[in-house]
């Protein structure tokens, strides 16, 4: 019954989205205040309610362990804790696609409420958002229905992949999708603005809150995923330049460019065409990411299993979105004009330069990610592009970006003038050589890139602190305070990220060894002793938990688990965190020795200052939401004045 109702609701959501598209389109043509526009808004509510209903039903099916539904049988098990039964609703392809659709519908409804101020512009963006909704709901209905039945129904489910049974990964997809899909609203607004022949400034004003909110959520989603990879996969790293990671990193880079270029466009009318183009491109790259992750065309440890039919569908959606968006841009960009001019030392110039660097970095990542596909399409030998490419090609661009970050807030708009800014920043300049020397001294023999990254991290942090001291007292309204604080926090966060990444890049070599009870290893000046191993079973797994004593009196407890339902082993990394960094230990399987005792595979590493990565990401997210608050406050004020 649940399955039938769920299918029905998804079909209704598709119909409501199509109605929303058509009614909104006609409504916009009539000026946005007609009964059609009103009906379009109602249809968007209907799409939201039906898709939320379908999603709730899917969760109920998981709670009830209804294995007659193929998706539930493939991702759940009666013994699984309730929390992970619920989280499994978005843990696989079909369910996560339903979540994607739900967020699209939510943002479609959001646009009817806090979309562009001008009625026809708003109705048009609601209609275009509905186009994106219809594509994805169509995909659900015709190719990826999460409510497909299984006959005969199995007695037991196949369980959610155990490494996904983790709190960080349970909330990672919703945040990530808020980011990806949030960019859809920026796409819809940009395209609607082009159709309605709205000025670049108005388009930027309308899409900024959506872009900022989406980008902050995307940051949080990527950070959680990266944190999960660090402690759950046990590979001893936080970023691997895997195609699936790159798929999220490209929209992130473009989103970062967009939230900045939209400021210059809204406030000073600079580069309107570029801002609109970025808004279109960012969402197209989000769909490209979905294609890479879900079609199985690329070798990735994170990819969903191969399914050519899905791949073709997503490729079609990618084609429709890209062709309609860029076609529209090609036809109408001329009407946006060139934008207002600015001097080379103005804030617009620096924002533009950073945009160029961020977009170039996204391009470099795109080339590396897609290159293997192109080679294959051209009939060449299978090839892969690994981390060395991305380190060599993307890092210099990001370092240059970082160099400019702290300067821009001190530069005046339009007419520019670097002299006062340089004077204000004297103290920060003095810090850089000190920091570089400090980094070189602390990590003697650290790689050059790490020293550069570390020094620039300090540079960004110092700049952000000075910016906060400078701008906060001048901010008179609440909105300006939020804006200044957001900027300073996000820029400081970037500094922390750089410093943390630089520190981790210069960490001592990891140790891989088999240890017996009572035996020790040395890492980063600490002695680790395998003290004992005992059983620590959970609700749906068996586990061996090790106690590893660290010189200085602490102990770390990594685990190795066996999930019987999925017949899979996983590791729970043991972390010993301190201000200097993380001791990181994972334990593998037992191996018999000749004398009859057992030795355990141990992987041990020391990650210096890795907490800075977390803090950096947190500050960026906080800064993003602070900026979003400022934008909403200003728009409300403007609405009250109008």
């Amino acid at each position: 019954m649940i399955a039938e109702l769920g299918r029905f609701l998804i079909a209704l959501a598709l119909i409501a989205s199509i109605a929303q598209m058509a009614l909104g389109w006609v409504g916009a043509a009539q000026g946005g205040r007609s009964a059609y526009a009103q009906a379009g808004r109602t249809a968007s509510l209907a799409a939201l309610v039906t898709s939320a209903g379908a999603f709730a039903l899917l969760i109920v099916a998981f709670i009830q362990s209804d294995f007659s539904i193929a998706y539930v049988a493939g991702h759940s098990h009666v013994d699984k804790p309730l929390f992970y039964k619920v989280a499994a609703a978005w843990g696989g392809h079909e369910g996560s696609m339903l979540l994607w659709c739900l967020i699209l519908a939510l943002f479609g409804f959001g646009l009817t409420r806090i979309g562009p101020a001008e009625p026809a512009f708003r109705a048009r963006s609601v209609s275009l958002q509905a186009l994106l909704q219809s594509l994805f709901f169509g995909f659900l209905v015709f190719a990826s229905n999460p409510f497909d039945r299984l006959d005969p129904a199995p007695l037991q489910g196949r369980d959610l992949n155990p490494i996904l049974q983790d709190p960080a990964l349970a909330i990672h997809p919703p945040l990530l999708y808020l980011g990806y899909v949030g960019l859809s609203a920026a796409f819809a607004i940009a395209a609607a603005g082009l159709i309605q022949k709205v000025s670049g400034r108005e388009i930027a004003r309308a899409l900024r809150p959506w872009a900022t909110g989406a980008w902050a959520s995307l940051t949080a989603g990527i950070a959680l995923g990266s944190w999960w990879a660090y402690y759950e996969l046990g590979w001893g790293g936080w970023w691997f330049w895997d195609p699936v990671e790159n798929a999220s990193f490209m929209p992130w880079l473009l989103g970062a460019a967009l939230v900045h270029s939209a400021i210059a466009t809204e406030k000073r009318g600079a580069f309107p065409g570029w801002t609109v183009f970025l808004a279109l491109l960012a969402y197209v790259l989000s769909i490209l990411g979905a294609f890479l992750v879900r079609s199985g065309v690329i070798t990735s440890v994170h990819a969903f299993a191969l399914d050519p039919e899905r791949g073709v569908w997503i490729l079609a959606m990618l084609g429709v979105s890209a062709v309609s968006g860029f076609g529209l841009f090609a036809a109408r960009a001329g009407q946006l004009g060139e934008g207002d001019g600015f001097e080379p030392t103005s804030r617009e110039a620096f924002i533009g330069a950073n945009n160029l660097l961020l977009a170039a970095a996204a391009g470099v990542v795109l080339v590396g990610t897609l290159y293997p596909l192109f080679v294959e399409l051209l009939g060449g030998a299978p090839v892969s592009v690994g981390a060395p490419y991305f380190d060599a090609a993307a890092t210099p661009l990001l370092i240059l970006t970082l160099l400019l970050v702290p300067l821009a807030p001190f530069l005046p708009w339009t007419n520019g003038g670097a002299r006062p800014a340089l004077k204000q920043m004297r103290a920060a300049f003095a810090l850089v050589p000190v920091a570089a020397a400090g980094v070189a001294l602390v990590w003697f023999g650290a790689p050059l890139l790490a020293v550069t990254g570390g020094a620039l991290g300090v540079w960004a942090m110092a700049g952000a602190a000075m910016d906060a001291f400078n701008a906060m007292p001048l901010a008179r309204t609440r909105a300006l305070k939020f804006a200044a604080a957001g900027r300073a926090m996000a820029h400081a966060g970037v500094g922390f990220l750089a410093l943390g990444a630089a520190a981790d890049a210069s960490r001592p070599a990891d140790v891989n060894i088999a240890l017996g009870r009572g035996e020790s290893i040395e890492i980063a000046g600490r002695t680790l002793t395998l003290a004992e191993i005992r059983r620590a079973d959970g609700a749906n797994y068996l586990a061996d938990r090790a106690r590893i004593d660290v010189s200085g009196g602490r102990s770390i407890s990594p685990e190795r688990r066996y999930y019987w339902a999925a017949d899979t082993h996983t590791r729970e990394v043991g972390l010993g965190s301190s201000i200097t960094g993380d001791l990181y230990v994972s334990i593998g399987e037992a191996r018999p020795r000749e004398d009859g005792s057992a030795a355990y595979e141990i992987r041990a590493a020391f990650h210096p200052l890795v907490w800075m990565l977390g803090l950096g990401a947190f500050l960026i997210v906080l800064g993003g939401f602070s900026a979003l608050t400022a934008q909403i406050l200003t728009r409300r004020q403007r609405g009250a004045q109008a």
Binding site: L150, N161, V297, L306, A360, P388, A565, G588, E589
Partner: protein, 165 residues
């Protein structure tokens, strides 16, 4: 400044950044590319010792050795030829016999593949595309009708339907 000169300045700066990013990417790509070699390709023309490559195939049943001192050794096959792989790290938890894996590393003088990275997917129904296509070509050459790989692959999928007791 005159408007046209200003525009020239922007265009030149942008072109400079894009060209240098392109050059950087080109050089990096040339250095960082690793080619995939199936066991059959290795048997025919082995890559030079020390050259970074990817190899892959199905892990041969019973070939996995886990010495008490740590590390592991195993054999992968595409049903035409085999490659022996040694790995000093800890094998991924989802590594198992009969599954398709990809390893990255170099061949040593004796023809042993020394892997620096072993990729096994979280999903047992997943087959790395390179391995899938090398198995398909092995089958096309008539190595074995219904090669082991295809069976493992379909079993993985069928399990979704059957559940487990």
């Amino acid at each position: 400044m005159i408007k046209s000169r200003k525009r020239l300045w922007v265009v030149l700066a942008s072109a400079g950044v894009l060209v240098s990013a392109g050059v950087l990417a080109g050089f990096a790509l040339r250095d960082a590319m690793t080619f995939f070699h199936s066991p059959a390709m290795v048997a025919e023309s082995p890559p030079l010792p020390g050259q970074r490559v990817r190899v892959g195939g199905l892990v041969v049943e019973g070939s996995v050795e886990r010495p008490a001192s740590g590390g592991a050794g195993f054999t992968v096959t595409d049903t035409i030829a085999d490659i022996r792989i040694s790995y000093a790290g800890s094998l991924p938890d989802l590594f198992r016999e009969g599954q398709g894996i990809v390893a990255e590393g170099t061949f040593d003088e004796s023809g042993l593949f020394v892997a620096s990275r072993v990729l096994a997917k979280h999903d047992e129904a997943y087959m790395p595309p390179e391995v899938a296509s090398s198995l398909a070509s092995a089958e096309a050459q008539g190595a074995l009708p219904g090669a082991a790989g295809r069976d493992a692959w379909t079993i993985g999928q069928a399990r979704i339907g059957q559940g487990r007791s």
